[in-house]
């Protein structure tokens, strides 16, 4: 009988590939974000609302991860932005490998400074999979319950930014925005939080300005 010491991260292969993605993107001065949320929290809507603010400032490409359809990709394509669909089939998250395959396409586009990746709608699975992004954005909407960060801590713990979306609906629910923020900051005190509504447009400009500035300072190009 052999007792074999392994001492390795189970997702070390994914992490290695994510590292390669990050290096490649950085070398091309492309800033990248990974957007995660439960199904329907508003990832695609936020992208749609953000594009008009950013289009003039930075060249954008979008990767859409979905289980089955390319409906989200079609929505984004209407804004005249290069968009690539990844259909994951049964996998409930994108992984670094998926992104690795699409990076040559990103490089073919001219002068991209910001790569937006919309992950598969899922609050649990994407948390463990680094894609190589510079910034992870978790979206949570006011129809979901303000204790969500305590129920799904991993996805809030790895995030850099929290977008509290559908604030226009908050008056109709018992969602308490301050309590939601408190809960999220309990998990991750370094979270940067924006309140947004894709209906009224509230908060979209602030979030877009922040994204543009971070991307341009980060290493994006104009």
């Amino acid at each position: 009988m052999h007792d074999i010491s392994v001492e390795q991260k189970i997702l070390s292969k994914n992490d290695e590939l994510a590292g390669e993605n990050r290096e490649l993107l950085t070398s091309k001065k492309i800033f990248s974000i990974n957007m995660v949320s439960s199904p329907g929290s508003g990832k695609t809507s936020i992208i749609e609302k953000t594009l008009p603010y950013l289009k003039e400032r930075i060249k954008i490409a979008v990767i859409e991860g979905d289980l089955q359809t390319d409906l989200d990709a079609q929505r984004v394509a209407k804004y005249g932005i290069p968009v690539k669909q990844i259909t994951t089939g049964k996998a409930c998250h994108l992984d670094a490998h998926n992104i690795h395959h699409v990076l040559p396409w990103v490089m073919e586009q001219d002068g991209i400074g910001l790569l937006i990746i919309e992950n598969v709608g899922n609050m649990v699975c994407p948390a463990e999979y680094d894609l190589g992004e510079d910034m992870m954005i978790t979206v949570m909407s006011t129809t979901e319950g303000d204790d969500k960060p305590l129920k799904y801590p991993a996805i809030f713990s790895s995030a850099d930014v929290l977008l509290l979306n559908k604030t226009d609906l908050a008056p109709y629910t018992d969602f308490n925005i301050e309590r939601a923020k408190e809960n999220a900051l309990r998990i991750n005190p370094y979270l940067k939080i924006f309140e947004t509504s894709c209906r009224t447009g509230a908060g979209i400009k602030e979030w877009s300005d922040f994204l543009a500035q971070t991307a341009l300072n980060g290493h994006g190009k104009i």
Partner: protein, 113 residues
């Protein structure tokens, strides 16, 4: 369910290690799963059993050590268990806390012959 893809990654590592050590019978696998990971130990066990069934790895046991979330206060150095995700130092009240355990998702060792 991402426990399936985590199991797949785990089995790849196990097969590599078994090839390297020239063994073919897997007895047990020891892994660590941190409290702050999005991994459900029961789901992982289920996936492990399902994916090893009718393979040379069938029957191996999966031993999961669940690692509690712990923090270290950057102000006073106190180390403590983070209960209910409240990361505030119980000694000095400091809020700048480094997570020192609870995020693991590691294979520790395997037993095989």
């Amino acid at each position: 369910m991402h426990e399936m893809s985590i199991t797949k990654s785990m089995l790849e590592i196990i097969k590599d290690e078994m090839d390297k050590s020239k063994v073919s019978q897997l007895r047990s696998v020891r892994i660590k799963v941190g409290e702050l990971t999005a991994v459900e130990p029961d789901a992982l066990r289920f996936c492990f059993e399902a994916s090893t069934k009718n393979t040379p790895l069938e029957g191996a046991s999966l031993e999961i050590e669940e690692v509690p979330l712990k923090g270290k206060c950057r102000r006073c150095g106190n180390k403590f268990r983070i209960e209910a995700f409240v990361s505030r130092c119980p000694e000095c009240g400091g809020a700048d806390i480094e997570k020192i355990s609870g995020t693991e998702l590691d294979i520790v060792s395997i037993e095989a012959e």
